[in-house]
């Protein structure tokens, strides 16, 4: 096999909670310059996978390497390569956005001058500058989401883990995020992104994996997946593979409740 090694390398990764296999022996790779979409219904294992890849949850089995560093064996080196924005932006309410980002910058040992410039740029980009000295506890959900994204972007990581990044963002900020993601990959980084929104997966992602009940059921480009089994769109393939609700069942439910 030729070419540079993948930035994300997952092999047989599993996570069990008691008898339940939340993630079941999944394997995939993500290369530099790639936006990798991770699709799946609620409870399919998307967030658990991201949590294992970011070191928040310890895998039951398997290996995950980030820029060649095993997240279990070399967590510090692996974590230095990543930026993570979770699906729920739980931040430190008693800090202002500036203080929070300074904290993140210090944790990642950024140069102070570079950090100040970068914080100002990011706050400005997401239109947070006017609120940057207010405590985060007073922010709306969307504003917190933007601060979480700023924190993930601040240290210019090699790999971005974005869990439902556009949820709670206004259209303008969602557009900015998409542009940032594209620019980041053009610069040779990788983006691993979970989303429920098929449009985003279709338009933004280079490759997509569909996970259902802890197993990856399909991997490919959006076009490849859309054409699978003679179906027309990625959404149809997704619903087919994940046993999505059929129109008739929806109609039945509404008839029953009418």
């Amino acid at each position: 096999m030729s070419g540079p090694p993948p930035l994300i390398e997952v092999d047989g990764l599993s996570k069990r909670f008691g008898d339940v296999a939340a993630v079941d022996r999944i394997s995939f790779t993500v290369h530099a310059g790639e936006i990798f979409g991770f699709l799946g219904p609620n409870g399919a294992g998307k967030t658990t996978t991201i949590k294992m890849l970011t070191g928040l949850v310890r895998p039951t089995a398997g290996v995950a390497r980030l820029c060649g560093f095993d997240i279990v064996r070399e967590p510090m080196r692996a974590k230095r390569q990543i930026g993570y924005a979770p699906d729920e932006p739980n931040l430190y309410g008693k800090l202002s956005a500036i203080e929070f980002l300074q904290f993140i910058g210090d944790v990642y040992r950024l140069d102070q001058r570079r950090m100040r410039t970068r914080i100002a740029e990011l706050l400005d980009l997401f239109e947070l500058t006017p609120a940057s000295t207010t405590l985060i506890e007073g922010y709306s959900h969307g504003m917190k989401q933007k601060v979480a994204l700023c924190a993930a972007l601040l240290h210019e990581p090699r790999i971005y883990f974005l869990d439902e990044p556009t949820v709670g963002l206004d259209p303008k900020s969602a557009r900015i995020l998409k542009d940032i993601v594209r620019r980041a990959t053009r610069a040779g980084n990788a983006v691993f992104m979970s989303t429920h929104i098929m449009e985003i997966a279709q338009s933004l992602c280079d490759r997509v994996a569909i996970i259902d009940r802890g197993k990856i059921v399909a991997v490919g480009t959006p076009a490849e997946l859309g054409a699978m089994g003679g179906l027309a769109t990625l959404e149809e393939t997704f619903l087919k593979l994940t046993g999505g609700i059929e129109d008739r069942r929806v109609a039945d439910i509404f008839r029953e409740s009418a």
Binding site: L56, L95, Q102, G105, D106, Y108, L110, T133, T134, L135
Partner: protein, 534 residues
């Protein structure tokens, strides 16, 4: 809102909600504490405390009866209930605020087809039930022991038992009304933070002033009488009821009991009515607190280490959260109590060893919040530390520094104040301050270790972290270490060792014991933080 209640009458609906919320709370507690050993420990601890208070009160009352100290006997109950009242104000003020205004389920409840009165009743009952636990463990054995010691008639027991159960409701009703008035008429942020501070400082000051009068009592035990606490306080009514029933004056005893019961039965519905009427407006104001401006701290040119960044972040959080200050106020209040009480009418001689044990207890009190909530205070933002390139040792050391800065300073100030107040020389003062610093380090380490083993990231306000077993277990472990040091200190005092009555040797061994406790605790904590999954 009246028709959409599924045909339930107002009392039915309130009762349904009370049962549902109590059941939810019980399930949450059960699922939080799955370890049977912890349950066993809690039961043994509760029963032990109950029995100790019961037997101690019974024996003490018998001694006073035999000594003919009638006046003293009559004045003790009101004081005992006053102590409880002050303590409960400290706990229940924050609880009333938390249960009604900062409760996470309130938005859901308010959007349900439920009457406002049902929600308030359910929340009120929930708050009272939580306080009943303390009343049953601490007040009930005192009241029953008093009656047994005084040889009271059988029918006085159910009477006093019901008074003890009613008492927390009276108190909680008053606190709930104060809370709602504060949130209606004072700007929400000021009200919220002011109430936390008032809950911590007012009882401390009251207690300090009251104890000063008690500590200066003189004369023979037969003629001694504690000064009368304010007659308008419910603690005085229940105390008088107990004293009079114990003394064989049923008329007076029942009069005070009926006063308490009537005020509660009339006052609690009025309080609930007031709260129901004003709740929406106060709640809306409280949840939509305007953001506080914070000066933009300019980034320094010196690069902070990751550990320093966590320390800085935690110190800022501490300074901006008055809820986290209350146990420091209580710890310093205890120093005041020791100074006022012990320096003037010593029960046992004032020695360096005794002062060390006293400041050791101040350290344990001071470590209650900073140590035992160090990890849990991260709340739902714990992912930030776990996803960042920080190892367990860095996180742990940062948490220790922040908790120790608070506890160590409070303990050292307390130790210095106590030593100076007792008239000790510089050498003894230094030894006592050193003991306090070691005791607080150990207490913080034990607290952090317990918190790392049983973290609680799902709290509604920071003071909810330390409730029940979470507070009792590490507190008792710290008390255990202190008792071990106390034994060493007092044994060596009588061992004819060179130096100031063996204090140096006792201090050296105590430092060793504290070091062992600290190292073991930190080892456990590091392992648990590394294994923590979020």
């Amino acid at each position: 809102m009246t028709t959409a209640t599924f045909g339930r009458t107002a009392p039915d609906e309130a009762w349904f909600l009370v049962k549902a919320l109590l059941r939810n709370r019980a399930l949450a507690i059960r699922r939080d504490w799955e370890g049977r050993s912890l349950y066993g420990f809690a039961i043994v601890f509760g029963v032990s405390v109950f029995c100790i208070i019961l037997l101690g009160t019974m024996g003490g009352v018998r001694v006073l009866v035999a000594a003919g100290a009638v006046s003293l006997l009559l004045s003790i109950p009101a004081w005992a209930f006053l102590i409880y009242l002050f303590t409960d104000v400290l706990i229940a003020f924050g609880q009333a605020l938390g249960d009604l205004y900062l409760s996470r389920d309130m938005p859901i409840l308010l959007t349900m087809p439920l009457r406002m009165s049902s929600i308030v009743v359910a929340k009120f009952v929930l708050g009272v039930v939580q306080n009943e636990v303390y009343a049953v463990i601490f007040l009930m054995p005192f009241a029953l022991g008093y009656l047994v010691g005084a040889g009271a008639a059988w029918w006085t027991y159910p009477c006093i038992a019901s008074a003890v159960l009613i008492f927390p409701a009276t108190l909680y009703a008053a606190l709930v009304v104060v809370t709602i008035v504060a949130l209606r008429y004072i700007p929400p942020r000021l009200a919220k933070e002011g109430l936390w501070l008032a809950g911590a400082s007012v009882p401390t000051v009251f207690w300090f002033l009251s104890f000063y009068r008690v500590a200066h009592l003189t004369g023979s035990i037969a003629s001694m009488r504690l000064p009368a606490p304010p007659a308008w306080l419910p603690s005085t009514w229940i105390g008088q009821s107990l004293a009079q029933l114990g003394a064989g004056s049923p008329g007076e005893g029942l009069r005070f009991f009926l006063l308490l019961a009537a005020v509660t039965l009339i006052g609690a519905p009025i309080a609930i009515g007031l709260v129901s009427r004003s709740f929406s407006m106060g709640w809306t104001a409280a949840v939509s607190v305007p953001s506080r401006r914070s000066a933009a701290s300019a980034a320094t040119s010196v690069r902070a280490t990751p550990r320093a960044a966590v320390v800085k972040k935690d110190l800022k959080t501490f300074v901006r959260s008055p809820q986290l200050w209350f146990n420091h106020i209580a710890a310093l209040g205890f120093v005041g109590y020791l100074l006022v009480g012990h320096a003037t009418s010593p029960v046992i001689p004032l020695t360096t060893q005794l002062a060390m044990v006293q400041v050791g207890f101040v350290a344990v009190l001071g470590a209650l919040n900073p140590g035992m909530t160090a990890i849990s205070l991260e709340h739902a933002a714990i992912w930030i530390l776990k996803a960042a390139p920080l190892d367990a040792r860095e996180i742990l050391s940062a948490k220790f520094i922040v908790a120790y800065v608070q506890t160590g300073i409070i303990s050292a100030i307390g130790a210095a104040a106590l030593s100076i107040g007792y008239g000790f020389d510089a050498g003894k003062t230094s030894a006592i301050v050193l003991f306090a610093l070691c005791a607080s380090a150990s207490a913080v380490c034990v607290g952090i270790a317990f918190d790392a083993s049983f973290p609680s990231f799902d709290w509604e306000n920071p003071n909810h972290i330390n409730r029940g077993l979470r507070m009792i277990v590490p507190f008792l472990i710290n008390i255990g270490v202190l008792v071990a040091c106390a034994i060493v200190l007092f044994v060596l005092r009588f061992a004819n060792l060179p130096g100031a009555e063996g204090a140096e040797a006792g201090l050296t061994i105590s430092i060793g014991l504290y070091a062992i406790a600290s190292i073991e605790a930190m080892r456990m904590a590091q392992r648990d933080i590394a294994a923590l999954e979020v």
